[in-house]
């Protein structure tokens, strides 16, 4: 789930005030191209590879990576969409609702799944996503690609592919889209 939605919604939510443009649209595109190269390199090709974009922030990034992979290798990599709301560990603590559709094309058994998200922060979304993926079959391996790793992990989770390592204050907000990466603050309404 996009960090943007989670942080901007009540009860903690507020208005996002941008401060610094960290990556431009071109930078994001270059990072995605590099991540695509790294995916091919690490896995010696694209056999069994499936991308799974985490709703909602990871979805456009995963489609973009898939199209780069297709350009480079001529292979169409399937893209799944995953909403992790039902697997979160804060159900009942804060309002949790599914953001968008889950659509995993086929069984994951034997697949090499590359999860794609916009921002890696506490790691709790990734934890939930790992549990959710398990319900779709036993993947051969699961890897994680993120556009921004902003630190402040609360679980022993690390990404395999990173667009940009970006130290942040815990109360800052990172906004990621294909148009770029912006660092800012959330101001209460």
């Amino acid at each position: 789930m996009a960090e943007r939605e989670r942080r901007l919604t009540p009860p903690r939510g507020g208005v996002f005030v941008p401060r610094v443009q960290v990556l431009t649209a071109q930078d994001v595109q270059r990072a995605l191209t590099r991540i695509a190269h790294e995916i091919i390199e690490r896995n010696h090709g694209l056999e069994d590879v499936m991308l799974v974009g985490l709703q909602t922030g990871g979805v456009p990034l995963s489609f973009r990576i898939a199209s780069v992979l297709e350009e480079m290798e001529g292979t169409v990599v399937p893209v799944g969409l995953l909403d992790v709301a039902f697997y979160r560990d804060d159900i009942g603590i804060r309002p949790v609702l599914p953001e968008a559709a889950t659509d995993i094309p086929g069984d994951l058994a034997g697949r090499l799944v590359v999860m794609v998200d916009d921002v890696l922060f506490t790691g709790r979304t990734v934890r939930a996503a790992l549990n959710a993926l398990g319900d779709y079959g036993r993947a051969r391996a699961v890897q994680l690609a993120v556009m921004v790793d902003r630190g402040h992990r609360e679980l022993p989770i690390r990404p395999d592919y990173v667009g940009k390592n970006m130290p942040t204050r815990i109360d800052e907000q990172v906004d990621v889209s294909l148009d770029g990466v912006v660092l800012g603050d959330v101001v209460p309404r």
């Binding site: 009942g92 309002p95 609702l97 559709a101 659509d103 319900d135």
Partner: protein, 359 residues
């Protein structure tokens, strides 16, 4: 996504818990939100392991003081697919038979540590009373002649699902725009039907054009406050001009038979026979909340028609009830406050709390 649940979540965070007692308290936005969350649970239902861990450690009690097959099993399936623990409570085998009051019974069960009560009762208002007695969430699973909100929600979901599929976007939530101007005929025993009350409110809130078709004796004494476009006594005249034909069960256990010269005459005028089904437009849908009196309000061969959605309603019921339980227990709130006005109280021999009807 309307985001109402998130706004409501601020209250949930403070510990406020809400119930689903009637469609009237939801309003169009509340209904839309539940339908959208249901989409996600329909996807869960399609998986090889149709179960999510969302409500692990929560306990849901189904307290049914009236017979039920599909509603009870549907709620229990929904709760189990959310990984909640389910306690099943049936009045016939309980201490209510020894004379324990409903309140004492409910408080006893609540003392065991329960997060939600799913309540069906012969008396209108019983779930609302239970909601006042306990801290747990309460879901109305049908109270007397009053309301059966989850049935109306699953019916709306089914209509929206079919219309969305025809539109060619089976995965994407389509909002509730498809209901605006949708012509729905609700046919049969409206007087005794809590399903009709909930459905009329839901469809009215979503902008559908509802026609009630029934003999005068099976209409409620007053339709004040009902968002109904039209009332008709002539089913044949209505059928060619509807998008959905929703048949109600003739409720003999509530004495519907006494309002009719004979069941055969009712069936002859208001039953959906295959001759009448042929009057429907090609795209028209046939729905029934079940249990069906085959040969009374719906003919055998009509049930089997491709446009009959009866079993699809049942399948969707599980997903919609998962959404309701998840939204109540997962964040303490279903939908938003406000919305459609409540129905005018039923004059006439409406059962009140404490009387037992048809038992």
């Amino acid at each position: 996504m309307t985001g109402l649940g998130r706004q409501g979540g601020a209250e949930a965070a403070k510990g406020g818990r809400r119930h689903l007692l009637s469609i009237a308290e939801l309003g169009a936005e509340g209904i839309e939100e539940i339908l959208e969350v249901s989409d996600a649970f329909v996807e869960v239902g399609r998986r090889s392991i149709p179960k999510v861990p969302s409500l692990r450690g929560r306990t849901v009690v189904t307290l049914f003081a009236e017979q039920s097959t599909r509603t009870r099993l549907s709620f229990e399936t929904a709760a189990k697919r959310l990984s909640a623990d389910v306690l099943s409570f049936s009045v016939d085998t309980s201490s209510l038979k020894k004379g324990e009051s409903l309140r004492d019974t409910v408080e006893t069960v609540a003392a065991m540590g329960v997060d939600a009560f799913v309540v069906r009762h012969t008396s209108a208002g019983a779930p609302a009373a239970v909601a006042r007695w306990v801290d747990a969430s309460v879901v109305n699973a049908g109270d007397g002649w009053h309301e059966h909100p989850t049935q109306a929600l699953l019916d709306c979901y089914t209509i929206r699902q079919v219309l969305t599929e025809r539109g060619g976007h089976p995965l994407e939530g389509s909002g509730v725009g498809c209901f605006v101007g949708l012509r729905v005929a609700i046919v049969g025993d409206v007087r005794h039907s809590r399903v009709a009350r909930s459905l009329v409110l839901a469809l009215g809130a979503l902008g559908a054009e509802v026609t009630l078709v029934a003999p005068g004796s099976l209409l409620p004494p007053s339709l004040v406050g009902w968002p109904v476009a039209k009332v008709s006594y002539d089913l044949d005249a209505v059928l060619p001009n509807v998008d959905v034909c929703y048949l109600l069960r003739l409720q003999s256990e509530r004495g519907a038979g006494a309002f009719l010269p004979s069941v055969r005459e009712y069936s002859a005028w208001y039953g959906l026979t295959s001759r009448r089904a042929a009057l429907l437009g090609d795209d028209a849908l046939v729905m029934h909340p079940g249990p069906m009196n085959r040969g009374v309000e719906i003919a055998d061969d009509v049930v089997a028609l491709p446009q009959s959605l009866v079993l699809r309603q049942v399948s969707n019921g599980v997903a919609v009830r998962m959404a309701v339980l998840f939204m109540l227990l997962g964040q303490g709130q279903v939908g938003s406050g406000g919305g459609a006005p409540a129905l005018a109280p039923i004059s006439g021999p409406a059962p009140t709390l404490g009387t037992v009807v048809g038992a």
